[in-house]
């Protein structure tokens, strides 16, 4: 198994939307490398003909009747939002002015 490098941690942080500082990258690179090294043993069974288990229960989709029922009011739904306007979540812009 390959070890995990500081550059890989920086890449993972970008994928995971974590704006890590330089010292955090150093800190996590060492720890993640240790953890990955320790847990890589699971690959010992990888060649075996074993079906994977993703969940302890057989899951089925639950459907409900298409009927109007009481739900949260817009005020309730927006009550935890960092910012809102005109009954909508107000989020930072994605596109520039131009």
């Amino acid at each position: 198994m390959p070890g995990i490098t500081r550059e890989e941690v920086a890449h993972l942080a970008r994928l995971a939307r974590l704006d890590l500082k330089s010292e955090e990258l150093d800190h996590f690179a060492g720890q993640l490398d240790d953890i990955i090294g320790a847990v890589a043993r699971v690959a010992e069974v990888a060649d075996q003909d074993v079906p994977p288990t993703s969940h302890p229960l057989p899951l089925t989709n639950v459907m409900r009747a298409d009927e109007v029922r009481p739900s949260l009011t817009p005020e309730q739904a927006l009550s935890g939002a960092p910012a809102h306007e005109q009954q909508r979540f107000k989020v930072p812009q994605i596109l520039g002015e131009d």
């Binding site: 890989e8 995971a16 240790d34 847990v39 890589a40 699971v42 994977p52 960092p82 910012a83 930072p92």
Partner: protein, 497 residues
């Protein structure tokens, strides 16, 4: 110490029902206890004084009106801060949800309210339930009432510490890899992880959806059973909820017995890393089970040796996905929104500021394990190990009715001792994790103090899925025998605060 707070939940409910005590008196006694000791213990993140008293007044009014009260009516409870509570802050021990007040109740919260249980407040926990010590809380650690310089376990350290310090007779925890049972062991209390799907996860902030399970925490096996019946059962709002009646846990707790039962001891649950005093108390527990009429069967479950590794790939993988919702847009913290940054930049800055180290570590570990090129080697292999562990349990339960083990390899460790060594911390859940991976039920109850440090040791009982009643049947028998041997419940040996 006020005698009301020493009562068990069952005794408290009986006295309220008979009119010997009012729910308000009981609630006030616990609120006074919280005020007196919680500055030292830090079991609570939020105490809902007014809400608790209002609930208690409702119970007293119902009784005065001649209404029949439920089995836990008027009994106070400490609720882990992972369950949403309408109008009361829910932080999950994280800065990213600091100040968030949910607009709805979790199904479990609703059931507690409907049963007239008095919710005292929300308890401290490792951030997003990630940890084995409650040191990862963004709001500071909880102390173990047996020794405040030690951890109470995690992630439900606040709930267990509230019980062990007599701030509440009942509490709720969640168990993803041992977060109910490990704190129960470290604080000398009782904790139960019900069968996966036995208690609704609706309104429980998700960490690892295929492993997370809410459950009861108490000071006695019967109290845990009474709470289990209140919170258990099918919930149409949760697609992972089992559509079957709650096993008869209260009846089992009232009729404790192991006579004629086959009890398994797994050889993989001992060896290097196990404290001598823990092994000693466990061996004594096995001898006790034999004395009480159980047949002991040695079991070999080779895949259990890989359980910790599989868990630390599966849980982070699911958490990296579940925690993507904390994006600074819809609720909670938002940092860096100064008009110059994009939504993506604000999300990344907020998540860095809002999550603690353990959460970041697991999100990145999960992102890595799920990434292209590594998926089969890590996440895929971990899922295969999960199959092997389930098969080991199935084979074992063909031969035995329950399995016993130490709950944790060691007693409570010092605050700070493992904080910078994630792998050392992860070992605390060595014995509890296989059960989460397979989805079956397990309990921890006190089995004595380790001679070398005088701290509580937990005995773990594991039962097949949907056979939760067996935990209570065995647990009640063991508890009664130990209390008779000690002359009192173990918790009475804890130092006064």
């Amino acid at each position: 110490m006020n005698s009301i707070i020493r009562l068990t939940a069952a005794e408290t409910a009986a006295r309220i029902a008979s009119g010997e005590l009012t729910a308000v008196e009981v609630t006030e006694a616990h609120l006074a206890r919280i005020e007196a000791v919680d500055e030292k213990v830090h079991a609570f993140l939020h105490v809902d004084r007014e809400g608790a008293l209002a609930q208690a007044r409702t119970v007293d009014a119902k009784r005065a009106a001649g209404e029949k009260l439920g089995p836990l009516a008027g009994v106070p409870l400490a609720l882990k801060d992972i369950f949403t509570t309408d109008g009361i802050p829910t932080t999950v021990g994280s800065k990213i949800l600091e100040g968030w007040i949910p607009p709805y109740d979790a199904t479990l919260t609703k059931k507690l309210k409907a049963a007239d249980v008095v919710i005292l407040g929300k308890t401290n926990m490792d951030e997003f339930a990630m940890g084995s010590s409650t040191e990862n809380s963004a709001y500071g650690p909880t102390g173990n009432p047996w020794d405040l310089t030690r951890v109470p376990g995690g992630s439900g350290g606040g709930s267990s510490a509230a019980l062990a310090s007599y701030q509440a007779p009942l509490a709720i925890g969640t168990d993803t890899g041992g977060s109910i049972r490990q704190p129960a062991a470290l604080t000398g209390t009782v904790g139960v992880k019900p069968t996966y799907g036995g208690v609704s996860r609706y309104g429980m902030v998700a960490f690892s959806s295929s492993l997370d399970q809410g459950g009861p925490c108490a000071r006695t096996v019967l109290d845990a059973a009474l709470l289990h019946e209140v919170i258990g059962g099918h919930d149409p709002l949760d697609s992972t909820s089992i559509d079957a009646p709650v096993p008869p846990v209260v009846e089992a707790a009232r009729n404790g017995s192991v006579a004629g039962m086959r009890v398994g001891v797994v050889k993989q649950f001992r060896g290097e890393g196990y404290q001598a005093g823990v092994v000693q108390r466990f061996d004594e527990s096995v001898a006790l089970l034999k004395e009480l009429g159980a047949e002991i069967v040695e079991l070999d479950c080779p895949s259990f040796d890989l359980a910790l590794s599989a868990y630390y790939l599966i849980a982070p993988s699911e958490c990296s996905s579940n925690l993507a919702r904390f994006d600074a847009m819809r609720y909670g913290l938002r940092v860096g929104d100064d008009g110059t940054r994009s939504a993506e930049e604000v999300t990344a800055i907020t998540r860095d500021a809002g999550f603690g180290d353990e959460v970041k570590r697991r999100i990145m570990l999960g992102t890595y394990a799920l990434s292209s090129g590594y998926y089969d080697a890590y996440y895929g292999s971990a899922q295969k190990v999960r199959t092997l562990i389930t098969r080991d349990f199935e084979k074992a339960f063909e031969r035995v009715d329950v399995i016993v083990s130490p709950t944790t390899p060691t007693t409570a460790f010092a605050i700070g001792e493992r904080a910078d060594d994630p792998m050392a911390m992860y070992l605390a859940d060595l014995c509890t994790i296989p059960t989460n991976l397979a989805g079956n039920a397990a309990m921890s109850l006190p089995c004595g103090l380790a001679p070398e440090d005088g701290l509580p040791v937990g005995l773990q009982i594991i039962a097949p899925a949907m056979k939760d009643d067996r935990l209570y049947k065995v647990g009640a028998a063991v508890e009664a025998a130990f209390v008779e041997r000690w002359g009192h419940p173990l918790l009475e040996e804890a130092p006064s605060l």
